[in-house]
């Protein structure tokens, strides 16, 4: 059985994976219910293509707050996080959709869509290429294969994923029905 997978490599191979880490490109969107409203009012919904560092040391997925708020998202809660200061501080939590491109061997590409809480963090003083960390709360629904020897990695869709917040690969990128009607 061929599972949908996202294959990644970081240049220069293989040491890019050592120096930078496993970075994936994702699409960040408001959740479906908000997108429907935005399309209804504006004809289109905002979307950001950003890079995230896959981090098995991060319990939660975190993204720079300015990026989340550029999509019209507002916090739904706060959660205590310990950062470089070593002092717990409350950070805002947003509800957002993260879409990761996935390929199915021999078939069309699609997306693994992940609608969950994301913690907003301050932008670092020294900007990174990646805008956040993809944590274990996301990896819980995937298998992560790290091929250090050749500097590549894969994120593989798990067949038995049943979490309500993750949509399985459909073979085509998800487009909200209302966007098809109203796209300019």
């Amino acid at each position: 059985m061929a599972f949908a997978r996202h294959s990644g490599r970081v240049e220069p191979v293989p040491m890019g994976l050592v120096h930078i880490g496993p970075v994936v490109e994702v699409k960040l969107r408001p959740p479906a219910v908000q997108r429907a409203s935005q399309v209804q009012h504006n004809g289109i919904f905002p979307e950001a293509t950003i890079k995230l560092l896959v981090d098995t040391g991060a319990q939660r997925t975190v993204i720079e707050q300015v990026v989340l708020e550029s999509l019209g998202l507002t916090p739904i809660s706060m959660v205590p996080i310990v950062g470089v200061s070593q002092v717990p501080e409350d950070r805002p939590v947003y509800y957002a959709e993260i879409a990761l491109g996935m390929g199915i061997p021999g078939k069309e590409v699609g997306e693994a869509v992940f609608e969950r809480e994301v913690v907003g963090v301050e932008s670092p003083r020294r900007p990174n290429e990646h805008k956040g960390l993809l944590g274990r709360d996301f990896l819980r629904f995937m298998d992560f294969h790290y091929h250090g020897n050749n500097g590549t990695f894969e994120i593989v869709s798990v067949q038995a994923v049943a979490a309500s917040s993750v949509r399985k690969i459909t073979g085509k990128p998800q487009i909200h029905p209302s966007q098809k009607k109203h796209r300019r």
Partner: protein, 80 residues
Amino acid sequence: MSLVSLVAQFRLSLPSLQSQYEGKWVIFRESGIVGAFSTLKEAYEEAYRLFDNDSSYIVEQIASPQEPTPITAGVLFGLC
């Protein structure tokens, strides 16, 4: 009411809510709980339907207070 104040009010109310709503995802406003749901997605979608993004509510799970989590493991060793 600000987000910070709303979260503070929720945390103070949490012990009294656990017996009735343990494990549920709730929409919480200054007036109290507006609705309780089985999943975050259901709670968020109902909150958005009722209040849009007007910042008058939070969506929380009724559970024991969360311990602070490190942003990444390196923080535990002062490496970040």
